[in-house]
């Protein structure tokens, strides 16, 4: 099986955490959001009206403030018990957030999980 990376919203992070119950084989996910803060080795993206997610960056990650990015990464615990974040594996710059209707992305997440057989193997 090749690697599958489900598209999710911040609310679904816990379901992909390594410690979560259930024999889920994948902890690698895709998230879409606008870069809202940069702090050296971490960054924050805002996922429409669905909250923020902290990213743990790679040394060669190049994020720009205010850009829409698609992040592929593993769900991880943040330092100091600040909840869940994403350890970045790769990012794709999609440019201006105004060019994307986030509502459509929410529907995409909904559709990909409701009709799972089209997108992901059963776990």
């Amino acid at each position: 099986m090749s690697l599958q990376t489900p598209r999710i919203l911040p609310a679904h992070l816990h379901a992909f955490h390594p410690s979560s119950s259930g024999p889920r084989s994948t902890h690698t996910v895709r998230l879409l959001g606008t870069v809202s803060a940069l702090h050296g080795d971490t960054a924050t993206i805002t996922c429409g009206g669905n909250g923020d997610v902290t990213l743990i960056l790679k040394p060669d990650s190049h994020l720009q403030m205010g850009k829409l990015v698609e992040v592929i990464g593993k769900v991880a615990d943040l330092e100091g018990g600040q909840g869940l974040g994403i350890r970045v594996l790769g990012t794709t710059d999609w440019g201006n957030p105004a060019d994307c209707d986030y509502k459509i992305y929410e529907q995409v997440v909904e559709a990909t999980h409701r009709f799972k057989s089209v997108f992901y193997d059963a776990e």
Partner: protein, 275 residues
Amino acid sequence: MDNYNNYGSGGGGGGGFMPGETNSPSGGKSGDRDNKTLRPVTIKQVNDASQPYPEANYQIDNADVANVLIIGQVRNISSQSTNITYKIDDGTGEVEVKKWVDSATADNMDMDGGKPPGDGKSEVKTDGYARVFGAIKSFGHKRYIGAHSVRPVTDINELHCHVLEATAVHLFFTRGPPGGAGAGANGAAGDAVMGGADDYGAGQNRALASMSPLAKKIYNLLKTEPQDDTGLHMQQIASKLNLPATDVARAGEELLGAGVIFSTMDEQTWAILEY
């Protein structure tokens, strides 16, 4: 002048299409020629596509697929002399895409110093998104997509739209057309062939709707009464419905005229015309 006329009529006679060839009912199973659909799919669906027997068309959700459309991220590009191979990943799986190099374009490229006339926009880059239009092929046990076109995607809404379209088409094939009042929802009407038959059924019902009550009665009798394939004789129908033969004959004419029944042994023996 004569020559021109002869030429004209000769040309007219020789041209045209062969009637009958195109009149076969579109059963949907008669091969690639009837299936020119372009179906949006995910890479998982491509990798899961089944072949009923070797060399057969690939099937997704029990429907033949001729051409597919995928959108994914380019993970690798390898250029060979005859083709460019892309590795595409859309989050549901990975697949190789081969685009054969058009020799005419390749020649031009040589003359331009090996570079395509790049306008920057039409370039597919590693880790960028690409839209691929092609057919599912296999070489040995390895599945790949023989691409007709590979182009970059720059609008994320196009990606999201594709995902939703792929879902909608999947639901069409597994549950039937939308708004079907659950008619096709029970699984049996799972493919295009059944869909087609349903349409015919609807057509017959529409033809019946405008008919006299007696014609409808006869139609229902022919439909439900046990019979061999020669159908029922007018006299049998008349006695079963307790009606004068002349009325039955008139209603029968009506049904015959609409083409929902046909005469078998003789003019007075009818059976339902089923497609």
